[in-house]
């Protein structure tokens, strides 16, 4: 019983250890991928002040379909008409899950550096090459894997500028979509420093002029007026029955970083990298993140931080002109993940309290106008005959929000996203497809080989059971000496003699007792007998002594 008790305890202990280890492993996994403390933000499908629901609502109001992508940008490869799709990445808050995959050189890799796997980055690059538009809003997150493919790089350290919103705090930075920085006059932007967008405001429609400006030019040429509804994707510029395109953008950003041009890993298809906005020349970047700015003539341990003018928005295009009338798409990089959050994008609603209690009012800004202009340029339908813009969205227009890299506070949501990611990985990534095919093959083989239906029951009558004796002795019993011994035992038994009496008997007497000359010769002559002779002798032995 003691042994039974011990083994029971051991079994319980083993089970406890197993489930314990499993729980630790699961917990480790969940901690890596789920941030329980942090609420989700920057989601186009939530309605908090730090989400993007107002932007999505505006898009929907324009009759454009919006979708969220919760698994992986690998799905962009499946799009039939990338020219009419805009992919919005607002904050890459977490790293990708490292799974084996083919890298660009068809070498298997097991880990991705930041944010997106090589396959996902390739999918995004292909999407842009095919004419899609990507907007990347990022500050300190993991978007650099994408950025590097387009020849830019986020600094991922906070930028401080003198051009900030004094009513709020120094984290709210003003930046203007123009090549020269806008400046301050006291506590407000100096209007004399406000210029126009460096590309959208040019006059040549085929050299990158904004599509709303081109359309407005057409309308003016024709002398037609439009209502606000008819203004379609350019409604943000509608004024007095006309489209009055205004290319100046006074953007409000929050907790921003800067974007450098770094062509080390740039994809060969990307041609143009146009800087669209910059900070003032008195901006600083807290490179070591200690909250203090120490600047010197060079970067060292004492003066690790940077000072000067930094890029806050860069546009990368496949074509040289970035024109929407040419093939190839474009990517807008903005050095702030929260550019389009409800609080800034829909500042009027925020100030009204639509997104919660208001402690300080948000100043007016052109973030909405800029974002809608990007959408308009990306998704406006173009007459296939005349090649002229039609003002309204293309029938297949779509805006996809990348929710796959947003931290979820809900375990179920995150688990769903992760499972979906794995599913997309196995159906989108080349190596995973290969593995999946092998796995399916093995699965079928396994089912074929291992899965057996229970055998039909039938009663088997089986009593086949033999005792075979000792076959080795058969040859021994064919030897002359054994035959001789058996014969002499027979002689002794038949004459009722004991062993001693028989052994002491004279030979002549024994010969007389045997009374058969052949057997006498067999007993007394040590010679070799042929098989036939031995058989004959055995026959004689058998009948010997019978009356």
């Amino acid at each position: 019983m003691a042994v039974d008790g011990n083994s029971k305890l051991k079994r319980i202990g083993l089970q406890f250890a197993f489930w314990g280890v499993l729980a630790v492993l699961f917990g480790t996994l969940m901690i890596n991928f789920v941030n329980f403390g942090q609420p989700n933000q920057l989601s186009a499908y939530d309605n908090d002040w730090d989400d993007l629901s107002a932007f999505r609502q505006d898009i929907n109001d324009m009759g454009i379909e919006t979708k969220s992508l919760v698994s992986s940008p690998l799905l962009l490869e499946e799009l039939e008409d990338p020219r009419n799709v805009t992919f919005v990445i607002a904050g890459v808050e977490r790293d990708t899950i490292s799974l084996p995959q083919f890298s660009g050189e068809s070498v298997v890799t097991f880990a991705s550096e930041d944010g997106y796997s090589p396959s996902e980055v390739d999918a995004i690059v292909d999407f842009v090459v095919k004419g899609g538009t990507v907007i990347v809003f990022e500050d300190y997150g993991y978007a650099n894997t994408i950025a590097e493919k387009f020849g830019v790089k986020f600094k991922r350290a906070q930028l401080y500028d003198t051009v900030y919103v004094h009513e709020l705090d120094y984290n709210y930075i003003w930046t203007c979509m123009q090549l020269a920085p806008c400046g301050m006059n006291g506590t407000v932007i100096d209007p004399t420093t406000i210029e126009s967008h460096s590309r959208w405001n040019i006059t040549d429609p085929l050299a990158g002029r904004h599509i709303c400006a081109v359309w407005a030019d057409l309308m003016a040429l024709n002398g037609t007026t439009v209502t606000e509804e008819e203004a379609g994707l350019c409604a943000q510029h509608h004024q007095d029955g006309l489209i009055r395109y205004n290319a100046s953008y006074q953007m409000l950003l929050n907790n921003i970083t800067s974007i450098d041009i770094d062509e080390t890993n740039k994809h060969s298809s990307m041609i143009t990298q146009g800087i669209r906005s910059v900070s003032s020349s008195e901006a600083t970047i807290d490179m070591n993140g200690d909250g203090e700015i120490w600047i010197g003539s060079g970067l060292n341990a004492d003066t690790p931080d940077l000072w000067g003018q930094f890029n806050t928005s860069i546009e990368v295009c496949v074509s040289a002109t970035c024109s929407p009338f040419e093939s190839g798409g474009r990517v807008h990089f903005v050095a702030d993940g929260s550019t389009l959050i409800n609080a800034i994008y829909d500042y009027e609603g925020f100030n009204r309290g639509d997104y919660g209690p208001v402690t300080k009012e948000m100043p007016a800004n052109d973030n909405r106008k800029w974002a809608l202009d990007v959408i308009a340029e990306s998704l406006m339908a173009i007459d296939p005959v005349t090649g002229m813009p039609l003002g309204e969205a293309s029938p297949t227009a779509m805006v996809i929000f990348d929710e796959s890299r947003h931290v979820q506070s809900n375990v179920a949501t995150d688990t769903y996203n992760m499972l979906y990611f794995v599913l997309v990985y196995f159906t989108g990534e080349g190596l995973a497809k290969l593995l999946l095919f092998i796995a399916l093959f093995v699965l079928f083989e396994g089912v074929l080989l291992k899965k057996k239906d229970p055998d039909p029951w039938r009663h088997v009558f089986s009593i086949i059971y033999y005792g075979f004796g000792d076959a080795n002795r058969y040859s021994y019993y064919a030897k002359n000496n054994k035959i001789k011994q058996v014969f002499l035992s027979k002689v002794r038994n038949q004459n009722g003699l004991t062993r001693e009496e028989f052994d002491s008997m004279p030979a002549r007497e024994l010969q007389a007792m045997i009374a058969d000359p052949v057997l006498v010769k067999f007993v007394f002559e040590n010679r070799t007998f042929t098989l036939e002779q031995t058989v004959a002798i055995v026959k004689r032995v058998k009948v010997w002594g019978r009356v």
């Binding site: 399916l440 089912v447 009558f461 004796g469 019993y477 058996v486 038994n493 038949q494």
Partner: protein, 417 residues
């Protein structure tokens, strides 16, 4: 548990979904989803094995070669249908299905019953058990199958066959020392009054003579006359060597038949019969009379299995003191592989026992299963005859029992060599 069909359907469904996702083929994905949905929907419709089983046997004890009639009553005690339910009554493989089937597929409604009837032939002696009852239920589309069993057993004993040996003893040339039941004027177990004696602690109360107690004041015991005339001892060789031959014809099987038949014959004559079985150990059943002893002997013989290599002399030495003086002893042994047999028989004869050696010819049993060269066979036979002759020389009756010879025939051939 899923069947192979279900596993294939499920694997196919998953494969279609995944491949459909890979190549963006929606029809393929829908087909795959349909497969998986079919499996899922089917898992909601399963059978059950909540049944009550009752087995009836025509006999609990029977003789080798007899037929056993079995009836199995299966009742669905659940409130829903069993779906496809297979019922299989586990029968020992040593039994032959003579008629009917020990299994049935059924689909019982709530409270419904079904009967399975079959007949078994029992060609081997032994202790057997029928059961448990295995159940296997499947759903309608044969996508899932579950197995369970109802732990319902029916035990029985198959005794060795009994041969009629009376004629052999009537016609035998052996001295008629087995004279049948006569009352001996010695105390012992019996029915007729013998004498009164004083009570000794341990005496059964039912034997106290209360009238004598009332008269004398002392506890007095009624002693009975011993009924049996003979204590007959049957020594059966169950060593491993006794298994030579086929499963139905080997020295041990024939020995059990002989022991059962002799015991039955002598017990019918109200003799006391003792059974001694030796293999790797010694099993001794003291001499006794009556049906109970008959049952004990048959039960012992039913469970005999060849094993071990205990010499006969070890048996006779350890039991010599228990043998009643002058009682006849039957030794059923092939006398193979045991050099102590002559000495053991010489000792028994020397003590005044009437020893009869019934010896199945093991070399002839061996010949049933092995191809023995003719010359070796003849020499082996001569050697065996020598052994039999020497045993007869010690004063025992020796019977050389050939495989194709009936027991009564063999007993008739008793000779002194």
């Amino acid at each position: 548990m899923w069947t192979r069909k279900a596993s294939f359907t499920f694997a196919g469904g998953i494969s279609l979904i995944l491949i459909g996702m890979m190549i963006s083929n929606h029809q393929m994905m829908i087909l795959g989803l349909s497969f998986v949905a079919f499996i899922v929907a089917n898992s909601w419709i399963s059978g059950h094995g909540d049944v009550e089983v009752q087995r009836t046997l025509s006999a609990d004890n029977l003789y080798k070669g007899d037929d056993l009639y079995v009836e199995l009553l299966v009742t669905n005690r659940s409130g829903r249908r069993t779906q496809t339910l297979e019922v299989y009554d586990n029968v020992p493989h040593e039994m032959k299905l003579r008629s009917g089937l020990n299994q049935m597929k059924m689909n019982l409604g709530p409270g419904e019953s079904a009967r399975i009837r079959y007949v078994l032939r029992c060609p081997l002696r032994g202790h057997f058990s029928i059961g448990p009852v295995s159940l296997r239920y499947r759903n309608t589309f044969n996508l899932s199958v579950e197995e369970m069993f109802v732990d319902h057993h029916s035990d029985m004993i198959v005794f060795p066959q009994l041969r009629d040996v009376e004629e052999a003893f009537i016609r035998s040339r052996t001295p008629k020392m087995y004279t049948g039941a006569t009352t001996l004027r010695t105390p012992g177990p019996g029915t007729e009054f013998y004498s009164l004696r004083e009570y000794v602690p341990g005496d059964p109360f039912k034997n106290i003579n209360w009238k004598a107690f009332a008269r004398t004041g002392d506890l007095m015991i009624n002693e009975k006359c011993r009924d049996a005339v003979t204590d007959l001892y049957i020594i059966l060789d169950s060593r491993d060597i006794a298994r030579i031959g086929t499963v139905l014809k080997n020295p041990l099987e024939m020995g059990t038949v002989a022991a059962a038949s002799l015991a039955s014959f002598f017990l019918q004559r109200r003799d006391s019969v003792s059974l001694i079985i030796y293999d790797e150990k010694l099993s001794y059943l003291p001499p006794d009379t009556g049906d109970k002893q008959h049952f004990k002997i048959l039960s012992s013989l039913a469970g005999v299995a060849p094993q071990g290599a205990m010499p006969l002399q070890a048996v006779t030495n350890s039991l010599a003191a228990r043998f009643s003086r002058g009682s006849p002893i039957f030794i059923i042994s092939s006398c193979e592989g045991d050099g102590t047999v002559p000495a053991a028989i010489r000792d028994l004869v020397g003590r005044g026992h009437e020893v009869t050696v019934l010896s199945p010819s093991s070399i002839d049993f061996e010949r049933l299963v092995s191809r023995i060269p003719r010359m070796s066979y003849e020499v082996l036979k001569i050697e065996r005859q020598n052994r039999m002759t020497s045993l007869a020389g010690f004063g025992s009756q020796v019977i050389d029992w050939m495989p194709d010879m009936d027991l009564s025939q063999a007993l008739l051939q008793v000779r002194g060599y």
